[in-house]
């Protein structure tokens, strides 16, 4: 019987050392309740993250488009950007808050997006751990550095 079947199916890579008594190993089905299955989490973090993506996205459309308009099109476009231009804008608290908000929202929005990408595509738990560690480190570093610069910016620096 098994010889017949293998003849009908044709040669298989790796040889046919499986038969009725010794079938190929069963791949454990996903979602089967095992000892390793994490307990159901009733935390709302995923909901908060989902909501944050929508809300920050809407705010970022205004912030980023406004930013691009000011930086690249109005008043002579990109050629006007220099130390003096940045110093002039950051003299006003309005632009400080604008840039700070944009920095935080864009970084968290991007980081959360990458987090879901890693969750979806990294297959091994270790890969996932390292990629997420790298992501969180980069995010925290960039946010802290940017915030520090905005708050401690000194236009008279030499």
């Amino acid at each position: 019987m098994s010889a017949d079947t293998s003849a009908a199916i044709g040669p298989v890579e790796g040889g046919s050392h499986y038969d009725v008594e010794n079938p190929a190993p069963y791949i454990e089905a996903p979602r089967k309740r095992t000892g390793k299955t994490p307990r159901a989490t009733r935390g709302n973090f995923e909901m908060a993250a989902w909501l944050f993506m929508r809300l920050s996205g809407v705010v970022l459309v205004v912030l980023v488009l406004g930013h691009l308009l000011i930086q690249l099109f109005l008043d002579g476009g990109v050629s006007k950007i220099g130390f003096a231009f940045v110093a002039g804008r950051w003299a006003s608290p309005f632009w400080q808050v604008w840039d700070l908000l944009m920095l935080w929202l864009a970084m968290l929005h991007g980081a959360n997006g990458l987090r879901t990408v890693i969750n979806d595509y990294a297959e091994r738990a270790n890969t996932r751990l390292w990629l997420k560690g790298l992501l969180y480190t980069a995010t925290v570093f960039t946010i802290l550095l940017g915030t520090l610069v905005i708050f401690t910016f000194d236009p008279n620096i030499r």
Partner: protein, 252 residues
């Protein structure tokens, strides 16, 4: 003069409606190998017949070892969902002529579930997710002596999601489900939707909390694979979005 010509054409087409079709089927037999292989079958078939008829022809006349599920064979029981030409469909609702019979027609098991043999998969994880959302009416208080009445508008609210036949075409087309299989999957959410938005049911909050889980509705990426795959034409992605909205507004 025209009539005899017409007759001749009709006679010719009536003489042989059959065409030769290559069915390329992904075979897996754990008693032979741990790898699956594509196998071609050449069969004569009327293009107006269905893929299921082609599978029957192969199983009955060519190779009896071909294994697949089917029960009613008329698109109601949801047993024969399979991946035909790379798209999840019911074999009993897919006509040969509609999927370009000039090229080989590929048939494989639905993805994301363990293949047991050929086109048969282990549906247990799928039904586990289904059971997890409590797909039954939950009420408090005394049981009424007559029917639980409902207005036509209240019934209309969840009409779309009552059509589900649990064939797993949507869940096994979902890339998030393919990832680690922990996501509840569209089918379970559709069946939760059916009761969450039922005015007679009183466990909506409980079901919403279940779907608020880490592997609940928030993992949906709205790729619309499920809506495309559904053989009953349920707007699956819309149903998932309605559950998300109910979770945020707590109005349902």
């Amino acid at each position: 003069m025209a009539t005899p010509v017409l007759d001749k054409v009709e006679a010719e087409s009536a003489a042989s409606p059959y065409i030769t079709v290559t069915m390329r089927i992904r075979r897996f037999n754990p008693e032979v190998s741990d790898a699956s292989v594509w196998e071609d079958f050449q069969i004569e078939i009327d293009p107006k017949e269905r893929v299921l008829d082609a599978l029957h022809k192969i199983k009955w006349d060519v190779d009896g070892t071909l294994t697949f599920r089917r029960s009613c064979a008329h698109g109601i029981c949801g047993s024969d969902a399979m991946r035909i030409n790379g798209k999840n469909r019911l074999a009993c609702k897919t006509l040969i002529k509609d999927i370009n019979p000039e090229k080989p027609i590929t048939v494989e098991a639905i993805k994301g579930l363990t293949v047991l043999k050929d086109l048969v998969v282990d549906m247990e994880p799928f039904f586990q997710a289904y059971r997890d959302v409590m797909p039954f009416l939950v009420t408090k208080g005394n049981e009424p002596t007559r029917e639980r009445l409902q207005s036509a508008e209240d019934r209309e609210r969840f009409d779309d999601t009552t059509k589900c036949i649990l064939c797993a075409a949507c869940t096994s087309s979902c890339p998030v489900f393919w990832n680690d299989g922990q996501y509840f999957g569209p089918a379970a959410i559709v069946n939760a939707h059916r009761f969450i938005f039922d005015s007679r049911d009183e466990a909506g909050e409980q079901r919403l909390e279940i779907l608020n889980d880490k592997d609940g509705v928030w993992r949906c990426r709205t790729t619309f694979n499920c809506t495309d795959a559904c053989p009953r034409g349920i707007e699956v992605t819309k149903a998932i979005q309605e559950v998300k909205r109910a979770l945020i507004t707590r109005r349902f």
